[in-house]
Amino acid sequence: MEQLALVQGDDAEAWAADAVLTIVGRPQRRVEGAAKVTGRARYTHDIRLPGTLHARILRSPHPRARVRHVDASRALALAGVRGVLHRFNTPKTAFRGEETIFREEVRFVGDEVAAVAADTEAIAEAALSLIVVDYEVLPHVVDLEEAIDAASPRIDEKGNVLDADRYERGDVRKEFAAADVVVEGTYRTSTQLHNSLETHGAVAVWDGDQLTVYESTQHVFGVREGLRNALHLPLANIRVLCDHMGGGFGSKGGIGKYTIVAALFAREIGAPVRCVLDRHEENVAAGNRSATLQRVRAAGKDGRITAIAHESWSNVGQARWVADPTGPTKGLYDVPNVLAHAHRVLTNTGSLAAFRAPGYVEGTFALESAIDELADGMGVDPLALRRRHAGSQVDPVSKMRYSLKRLVDCYDIGAEEIGWSRRARGGLRGSAPGLRRGLGMASQLWSGGGTPPAYATVHLNPDGTAVVRIGTQDIGTGTRTVIAQVCAEELGIDVRGVRVEIGDTDAPYAPISAGSLTVASITPAVRLAAKDAREQLLDVASGVLEVGRAELRVEGGAVVSRGARTPIAKVFEDLENYTVIGKGSRMPNPDDIVLKTFGAHFAEVEVDPATGMVVVERVVAVHDVGRIVDPLTARSQVEGGVIQALGFALSEERVVDKPTGRVLTSGLETYKVPTVRDVPRIVVRFVDVPDTVANNVGAKGLGEPPIIPAAAAVANAVANGLGVRIRHLPLTPRRVLDALAAAS
């Protein structure tokens, strides 16, 4: 697809691999850390404007039903209730390809049926039970494999199973026939729920025809666009704000129905309206990672992988897209013959939302399990087999060269750190009688090269401090900190002298904080804005100091020339309020070059065959993501990704009651996010070679890479230790014991 790129200004040369940088690349404490630990940081949930009303949503108790009639009279009669919205009284408001936020046919338990605004949250909640809805209950199906079965109720006129994507290179059929070894496995992954600490929510307030929305979001501009489409407002009339944010993991990419509910009530009633989800709603109606069923066949001949065929089915709820699990199969290894076929399966459960490396987490588990099974079948070490297909510098899908690929370095670092040479076929003895120990590994492929457009401004104040303004948002990843670092580095001032203003659509545009694209998209623009400011400063300094411009540089907050240091404040002293405003924009990515990130995780586990308990003792996570801007932030990204992956691998699983369609694991007791006691030692290593082709900072994204290979590495380690492969995540005691019982 041809991308239209409008270039504004000139790019800076990328910082070279051997450039001496004083702030970028060095550990930097979070610039907002003190505000967070003292409770001063304001999240959307904390926004309480004077006179705020509270909205709550009535959700369908049926997995599939037609809403025939809504009687809200008793709810409206309750003291303190200020309004009720439902499908018979709500204006059409476009939402994700549908015309309205209240469907005629509700399609899962938790689907929005009506909303109440009231003086307090408790009154709104009480009013929900007074709304009488006449439902015509329809046949439903919630389970992925039952939905595929032709005998199950057909819940969409196009059928339950829809073709999503098909890809082929080479001739898979021929290679399977010619192979020495062919392995085939059916792999299953379970629905994972995001469980961001801050649930989804918005606060809306109108001032005349000006709408301001506070939203917990990964994309303030995406929310603005969603409001424009839903409410038909000019962009100038909408302002979206997100100061601090408690996580999204992909699920907060745009507006929610709660946003529209808040905005409609606020306009109708003339008061600020707050609509935030509780944990139960969050886990029923705010998105998830699809459960998958995947079949992988892999063929080997003469010590090499010759063909892979991967077919997948994903439970998307009612979503119009699928998180394709076959991405890693197509692009991770240099294998000549590949067939990939993805299907989207509709069910009466809550729909998927992007979830940290959507598709790649699920697909890497299936692919990397199959590669290990093939290596076992061929009698070769699984890491040695991967090495034969990991060195190519050409992307097998596009046939274009990578800007930088150091996957084999990741293998070397990780194998050394975990002690891979100890790995033995059939596993190792554990630390106590009866326990089994195993080693496993898996590779990671993801994008992360970033994208235009993104814009930043840097205001250099007369005292030598600076304000960076950019319409990105910090979703908890440390975005503020890396912006301050890049700005301070380029400008030549102390990082504490930089204030970062983000989370506001009145600032210059920046892309969604998703897809691991934040750092690589925004920091090059920030650097150019700081460079612009620095050059303007030097122009001024040259005149004030009467020194040639070429002899001046900025360093440590001062203009330096031949041993003389003039603090920036001194340069501006007699210029009153002269202000330097630097501007920068993200330049296009290089032509005909593929930008990717790579990595490898190694896991050591101990398994108790008597209880089915899997204890992960150590994960070594190695990533190749270009320059590391802040080693502290980078390390916590990797730790968080590994922990979230371990939940997916071992304990996290949405359970839906088939007869009633209700989610049985909507709370944090039954939906098992890892606790601190479940977290192993995590060793984080980076190749840390800047990608000077990619952008002027040399950095690529790290949000998603660390969640991608960990579950596969753990599953391979468990299979190595136990001698029995479990092809269904999570590896709960139940699945381990059931598999051992079936194997014996």
């Binding site: 008597a610 209880t611 009651d657 007791e669 098992k672 606790t675 005691p733 139940r734 059931d738």
Partner: protein
């Protein structure tokens, strides 16, 4: 949450009197009751906060008997050197409950008197569940991962208490106070299954409270152990637990093996216990006892894994005791 009357009696007599009202509920640490009230699982018009009663939080040696007040906190029991020395299984069980925060609030009495964690019972909309005074069990045709493999009848929810499992192995008794005074109930008859009354899990009448738990001298000091299996290593209820104690040196005089989270009440593995008497804990004896411990199990659709889990945990518990 629905509004309710809050009372804070200062004596046991006053407490049981306050509990005689309709829909009155006793509050210990509140770690279970508050969730029940927030989710409106059981009607609650009056809360009787027992924490104002002095002298119910002791952990002491009472003329050779280990006596623990109902308001003793789980964290204090877990860290008590007296309990660790005299009744290690109880200290271990208390220390494996939930999280430090919950152990610092939760009481022994509350841990024994808690309601079940069945994910159908805990879903506020399942008003026809047996335990909500309905007449249906969703686990039979639904997801039964958490449910009973022994003793289910109509309702298949399991008793979730870790301390109950340990105390069953320790032959404890429960002192109960009510309007007519005090009675002492052996732990084996303290819990009731759905065949007796599916609306409650213990013999406690609505106006009765636990005041003390007593572990008799005969069970004290003999090796005991508590093991728990759950998907997470903390903040999790057991999928299966075992409390075990053997009395007798070299040759076992008495063995008690209690299984938790596999039945509506703590389940004594009586066949395994009888098999062990007069024997020593050799490896093959342990293996046979572990097999017998799961005897009679009748899994539902998705809890067959509890059968090997019982065997595995019992084997590990007896092996640990053999090493003492």
């Amino acid at each position: 949450m629905k509004s309710f009357e809050y009372t804070r009696p200062t004596s046991v007599q006053e407490a049981v009197q306050l509990l005689s009202a309709q829909n009155a509920r006793a509050l210990g640490g509140g770690t279970d009751l508050l969730g029940i009230m927030k989710d409106a699982l059981l009607p609650t018009d009056r809360v009787v906060d027992l924490k104002g009663i002095q002298g119910l939080d002791h952990i002491k040696d009472d003329a050779g008997t280990l006596a623990i007040g109902a308001l003793a906190r789980l964290g204090d029991i877990a860290s008590s050197s007296l309990v660790s020395q005299k009744a290690p299984a109880l200290a271990q069980a208390a220390g494996l409950v939930a999280s430090p925060q919950i152990r610092n609030m939760g009481t022994l009495g509350g841990n024994l008197a808690q309601k079940v964690r069945c994910w159908y019972f805990r879903d506020a909309d399942r008003t026809d569940c047996y335990k909500r005074n309905g007449s249906y069990c969703y686990a039979v045709l639904g997801a039964s991962d958490l449910h009973a493999v022994f003793g289910g009848a109509a309702c298949f929810a399991v008793h979730p208490s870790d301390t109950a499992t340990a105390l069953s192995a320790l032959d404890a008794s429960v002192v109960v106070a009510g309007p007519k005074g005090q009675r002492t109930v052996p732990i084996a008859s303290f819990f009731v299954g759905p065949d007796t009354d599916y609306l409650r899990e213990t013999v406690l009448a609505p106006d009765e409270i636990i005041t003390e738990v007593r572990v008799p001298p005969g069970a004290l000091g003999a090796p005991s152990v508590f093991l728990k299996a759950a998907p997470r290593r903390s903040i999790d209820f057991a999928r299966t637990s075992v409390g075990a104690q053997v009395v007798g040196t070299n040759v076992i005089q008495t063995a008690r093996i209690a299984l938790g989270a596999v039945a509506p009440t703590p389940h004594r593995a009586t066949k395994a216990e009888a098999f062990l008497e007069g024997k020593s804990l050799a490896a093959d004896t342990i293996a046979q006892a572990a097999e017998l411990a799961a005897d009679g199990a009748k899994p539902l659709a998705s809890n067959a894994y509890k059968v090997p889990l019982i065997k595995g945990l019992v084997r590990q518990a007896l092996t640990a005791l053999a090493a003492r």
